[in-house]
Subunit: 331 residues, 2 copies
DNA sequence: CTGAAAGCGCTTACAG
DNA sequence: CTGAAAGCGCTTACAG
């Protein structure tokens, strides 16, 4: 049974009858130690179960060997929880591959500036992964003028930095095309808040698919994500175009379930109504009617974020934009 | 526009014409500084946007002002993602209330010892929140013999430390009772792996409810959580007791959906079949048949974990066991 | 190759 | 109240 008490480098160097600097060099794989001494020291370090104190090392090297991942303060709200779990796992994975720690930093979207500035000034991390939606132009400017490496998960209108995102327009295009292929010709679109970049892109993809198929019916409704607002919007949509035979939902999760409920409430025969949803949600698989769904490669995006960040940390130049494809699933 | 460049305490003290120690005292709210000087210093610190370097402070105080949260390496696997998201959010919240950072540490259940020992020896955190299921007896012994404060989310047979858990037996009892109240009398139970403590407790609660209602039929099947194994177990259960009119599922999430699929495949009329599920899962709400579900207060448990940990860090004595009730929901 | 010294940016006794 | 000094546990020039 090893002891859990830790030694200092001074104690280790005393035991080894060498200088502290020699132990340090041996540990860090630097040259300037004879191979024999290095082995001897490493053996002792292993026996004594010695680990360098993180804070002392960080102070001396000006490197924390820690990266920060910003997540929304309401991460547990609704089902985006799964999305963030996957991002977290992916980033944590890449970090631990490099023996880096992961600091999780919750951010309120309404006041991103203070928290970000704080972590930069306290020098608590060597770099940051930041969800684009949590940033505003001011915070982006501040980050850019600091020398803290950072990457963005998603894009933002004001940022052109090293973003990772999904091809929303293309995904929406292909999902809508699938509906056309299945023979639907009166297709509506219900989308999230129109201020979101991805909403705009998904709507654009939807329109493009209709035009590409020479279909005219392009009724589009945008809505907030609340149950009330969503249901109301769907009702309005159905009133406006009673002859719809299919719907493209530009968002998934519970949003989709709200839409389904209204369709059922209106007596729509779901097994003959076309449904395509941007963003897969596993319970769709269990629904008694067919759904076409687009899946984001969340894990790959998270890994890419981390890899890009490590490139920046090592003064290399990562791609300024990495775009991923949507995978289309039918159930 | 404030600068993002940071000063050191030496620079600040020079600007203020005082000693470093005076600035330090002013910043840390210690006595030994005149109120006038303190205000003057704080004003300067605000204007200069100074923040103490985290590593330097940690080294000097032997306090990192960081707590660690251990999460399973496969956190993104299946839908437990939501569970961990909520735990993470709750712990992060409590931490930031106290101006503590949160270090996220992924742990492989097969080799918990090395990672834990590492974070202890490197002194990267002031305390740890650990899911009980990720620990083994050896790791628990190691932790206990260190002086690192830690708390457990969930219980483990070998640990009697400062655990937070849910009243599984009581929850199972009440869920089963609900089925009885609704008039069902031939109730089966399908549960997860029997090695899990919570599986044993839920089965015990189920049995107790049947006994309490003078019902004899207590067919119980345990299974691994895979789709194949689960479906096979349900089929076996139905073959064994063809006259079942209700089922208590001792686990939720997709596990429940697998069970539903088999029931439907067997032509069971779901609207007249009783279903009670331990662990709510939001999509249940949208199912076309009624489900009785138990909800764990995940967020409260996470908050309690963190609060207990902070008590330990401050040398106080938190409750050695906090048990939470299941809330029963009908849809 | 080896080690003594200085320094990273703080805090904390200790004197004045 | 105030400040000079020592120390936290490392790393990194620098001399030998």
């Amino acid at each position: 049974m090893k002891s859990v008490m830790n030694y200092t480098i001074a104690e280790i160097s005393k035991m080894a009858n060498v200088a502290k600097s020699t132990v340090s060099k041996a540990l860090n794989g630097q040259k300037g130690v004879s191979e024999a001494k290095r082995q001897e020291i490493l053996k002792l370090v292993g026996d004594m179960n010695y680990r360098p104190n993180l804070a002392a090392r960080a102070l001396a090297k000006r490197k924390t060997e820690t990266i920060g991942l910003i997540i929304p303060a309401d991460v547990d709200y609704t089902l985006s929880g799964v999305y963030w779990s996957v991002i977290i796992a992916a980033v944590a994975d890449e970090a631990s591959k490099r023996n880096y720690n992961l600091l999780l930093i919750m951010l309120n979207a309404d006041k991103p500036l203070k928290t970000l500035e704080d972590t930069i000034l306290k020098q608590s991390v060597d770099g940051l992964v930041i969800p684009a939606e949590l940033l505003n132009a001011q915070a982006y400017t501040m980050l850019s003028s600091s020398d803290m490496p950072f990457v963005l998960q998603g894009r933002a209108s004001f940022a052109s930095h090293c973003c990772v995102d999904v091809r929303s327009e293309d995904g929406a295009f292909r999902l809508t095309k699938k509906l056309v292929e299945k023979g639907f010709s009166h297709i509506g679109c219900i989308a999230g808040p129109e201020s979101f970049l991805y909403t705009q892109e998904r709507i654009a993809g939807f329109k493009k698919a209709l035009a590409d198929s020479s279909l005219e019916n392009d009724v589009i409704v945008t809505t907030r994500y609340s149950e009330e607002a969503t249901k109301e919007s769907v009702r309005r949509l159905l009133d406006e175009k009673p002859n719809l035979d299919a719907l493209f939902l530009a968002a998934g999760g519970e949003f989709a379930f709200y839409v389904f409920e209204v369709l059922q409430e209106r007596g729509v025969d779901m097994s003959h109504f076309g449904i395509a949803v941007f963003d897969e949600y596993r319970p769709f698989h269990f629904l008694p009617f067919p759904v076409i769904a687009g899946r984001q490669p969340i894990r790959q995006m998270g890994s890419q974020d981390a890899r890009n960040l490590f490139q920046l940390i090592e003064k290399e130049t990562p791609p300024s934009l990495s775009l991923f494809d949507i995978e289309i699933l039918e159930s």
